[in-house]
């Protein structure tokens, strides 16, 4: 019997209406606080933003720290899911 898979804790960060680079600073602060959990995928950071530039700056910074990032467009905003190792 294989061990039960534990779902990661999802930290939601709603920064709709904010623009870069303020968005980047907010997300970096969250990443810094949860770095190990995010790398180990114990946690995932779900960022909601409607500022397109954020979908470029956040993944670039996160991947430089060795954390996996995916971006998807949801209705009128973007969801950036941060967590897991590259």
């Amino acid at each position: 019997m294989s061990p039960a898979k534990i779902s990661p804790r999802v930290i939601e960060l709603d920064i709709l209406g904010q623009v870069c680079p303020a968005c980047l600073l907010v997300v970096l602060k969250q990443i810094n606080e949860n770095l190990e959990d995010l790398r180990n995928k114990n946690s995932q950071l779900l960022v909601r933003t409607d500022h397109r530039d954020t979908t470029r700056t956040v993944p670039a910074a996160a991947t430089k720290m060795g954390i996996a990032v995916t971006v998807r467009k949801v209705a009128t905003y973007y969801e950036i899911l941060i967590g897991g190792q590259l």
């Binding site: 623009v19 680079p21 970096l28 810094n32 530039d53 910074a61 430089k64």
Partner: protein, 550 residues
Amino acid sequence: MKNPVTADRGEQQYLRYIRDKTNQLLKVMGTEALREEELDDQALIGLDPIGTIAESFSHILDYLNETISELRVAKDELQAIFDATGVGISIIDKDYRILRCNEKQRAMLLPGADDVSGCYCYDAYGKRSAPIATCPAKETFATGRQAVTREIIKQGKYFQVVTTPFAWDEDGKVTTVIEVSLDITEKKMAELAEKEQREYYLNEKSKLATVLESLSEGLLVVDSSNRVLSLNRCAANILGHDESRIAGKLLPEALPGPAFMYDTPREIINGFKLPYIAPDGAERHLSVNMAPLLDSGTKWIGRVITFHDITEEKKQQELYHRTEKLTALGQLSAGVAHELNTPLGSILGYARLLLKQENLTQQQREQLAVIAEQAKKSSTIIKALLSFSSHGKPKQCRLAECDLNSVIKNAVCLLTTELVKRRIKLVTETTTLPKVCADAWGIEQVVLNLAMNALQAIGNQGEIIIRTAFHPGRVRLEVRDSGPGIPKEIQNRIFDPFFTTKPLGEGTGLGLSICAGILNENGGTIDIASSDSTGTTFVVILPSKESLDA
């Protein structure tokens, strides 16, 4: 006390400093500067932007260090693989200079060389002044694709070389290739040795085939189930079939004989005399040898059968025995004839003398006539005996150049009356012949004797054909009659002295044996060529004069 204006200005300066440094750091992060309307001072201080970015930089640095460590390990691993691999690897630039090569490459091609970096590969590896036409690196630089050369010689060794593009310039042109060389010298040497060995075996096979084909003996090779695997030309000639018709046949079909020939395949049989009927119906006599065929491990895999045609040899032997018998009989006959000739002469002489007396009664006259007639008949037999014995003796024969066709013509003249009387047609089919060196009188006797035998065989009404022909070195005379033929079972006895099929008192049985004797003296032979219900053909062979002169 603190001056509020000074304090406020100081705070403003501090915030400006924070914003400037934050923007400086954000620029490093690859994003634009903060606008005050987006993030007021209080919110900015609350975010601790410098601390946040510094901490992020710290994480980035950690990750970078981890990555560098991993890359270093990976590089070491790759270097170990590069050096430990069993193939030679070189990295070559577009000028064919060696950028790097692994230990294997160095050991294979440059033993003792410390560093070949910067050397031209064609010089370092092949002692050449330029890349060869089949250089795979050349092809890869030209095509941008992987190239394989199955066999390339470097430093006297054989290599299989693969080149793969490794780096490209901005225009997509290959600037560096990785060349992988696999040393195939051992394989190549093994291939060459195998090729040499194969050629050796093919040569040996060819030699053996030539030897087998040139054998004057027939040869058959059969497998363990008695099936013919191969045969030589002589075997096909003796057996009277094409090689293709014999190969694959079972031995009893190819060479029919008694069961023991096939039932004891592991035994050696030497000189077994085997009668064989050829496809044309001719009976041949073969001397057969059989031996088991073993492979290199002494495993029995079949048999080798050799044979030769001893038909002529057998005939010669029979002739020899007949001659010997004739000689013995001749000596005996000569003695007897000599002893009887004198008293018989007296009997005949006195009988004739008495017959001349006039006071004889009719009965006495008749009785004396019988005595004289029987004595004369006996005298004829004695003459024949003496003639026979004279041919059995070794003597100096008076041979002279003569024409066989003329001899035949003379003999035929003597038969005219008898032929007419018996209504027998005599046909002579002569061809121009070279001279023979023979005793013309003796040969005429032979022709006469054969013709007389033919007459007697036919009886009345029939045909006799006398035919001559020339074969290289010899002339041939055929006498064919349309008589009833000679039974097969007595054919081998007809040349024996005193053997006759005629009623008692009608033949001496010496005719053919005298013919054989005459021909023997003349260096010729006589034999039955054929005999069946349609008639008999006798064949006489005499050597031509040229062949004797030669």
